[in-house]
Symmetry: C2
Subunit: 188 residues, 2 copies
């Protein structure tokens, strides 16, 4: 549990054991069972989550009652609703568990404190934000420029390491197609 997050932070520079211990005390650990909610629409978004174990999804519910999946996160991924986390707003989406989950929570205040105190942590979060922005930009482009076969191929590539852990109807909900349409794409 400690090692994964330490390895991540040390991507941008070394930390001594005592520095890391101090940083790690800013996290809290939580466990969830499959199907439990980590975040629900309307709740305050006070935490960012680092996945130690398990698989989760974020999604919104459309006016017609259907779900659309925004993204999946698994071991060593971070997830929250950043627009609400950074700017102290309420959630506009849900995050729930596809498997049993263990995670580390980092509150806004704790995040600011460790960033202020450790330049290596500020660098880590700046660099990680590049991945987040690039991911979001690609997701926007694929939603604008909608080609289901291309979307499916991109999905299979992006999520290849966990593809067998994602139920088929969740893949359809990510792509915005029916299960039948998904089957046709796979056979094409």
């Amino acid at each position: 549990m400690f090692e994964n997050i330490r390895n991540r932070f040390e991507e941008t520079g070394p930390l001594t054991d005592s520095e890391f211990d101090y940083i790690f005390r800013h996290f809290t650990t939580r466990k969830y069972k499959k199907h439990q909610f980590i975040l629900q629409e309307g709740a305050d978004v006070d935490n960012e989550y680092f996945l130690v174990k398990g698989l989760v999804r974020s999604y919104c519910i459309l006016p017609n009652g259907k779900e659309r999946i925004l993204q999946f996160a698994w071991e060593n991924c971070w997830i929250t609703q950043y627009s609400a986390y950074f700017f102290n707003a309420q959630a506009g989406l849900f995050i729930d568990c596809i498997e049993d989950v263990e995670l580390l929570c980092l509150s806004r205040e704790s995040r600011e404190r460790i960033i202020d105190e450790f330049p290596v942590i500020e660098r880590y979060f700046r660099k990680r934000s590049r991945i987040g922005i690039a991911w979001c930009e690609n997701r926007i482009l694929s939603l604008l420029n909608y080609d289901t076969k291309k979307g499916y191929d991109e999905f299979m590539n992006e999520y290849r390491v966990i593809i067998n852990r994602i139920p088929k109807h969740f893949i359809a909900s990510y792509l915005g197609v029916s299960r039948e349409a998904l089957s046709r794409i796979k056979m094409a």
Copy 2:
């Protein structure tokens, strides 16, 4: 031209005149006429752009030949295709000028250098990335959860300071609706 970017950087801490002069030497200035391209699909994305004057849009061309607008940027905004800029890839979209434009270009290498040398610049870019991620996340949610009237209201709110400078057919292209549908929404 100098003042706008200096004010931005000093949001995260003061810079002396000589520090700012040194930082500013990492930028190059460019001018474009209305309709000129700043970036074209397939080109290397070596720069991030800070708008000093004028209005631009980024957009992609769909397989059916239609344009879909990703975003608009105007005075004091930054724009590029970040997924390509950060990771040294080729552009998957276009950026062109809706008005005559003056801008500052910051190359990847120059950006890394001033971030390495000035913690206040690293902080500035980390904090700005929060705005970028939040914007992207909201754009994804509005594309997933598509309600044209809500999308129009959000658009009018987000772009209210420049709404009179954006041609109506570009608003339709941002929202993904026809001009006729846009007129109906406005009258609703």
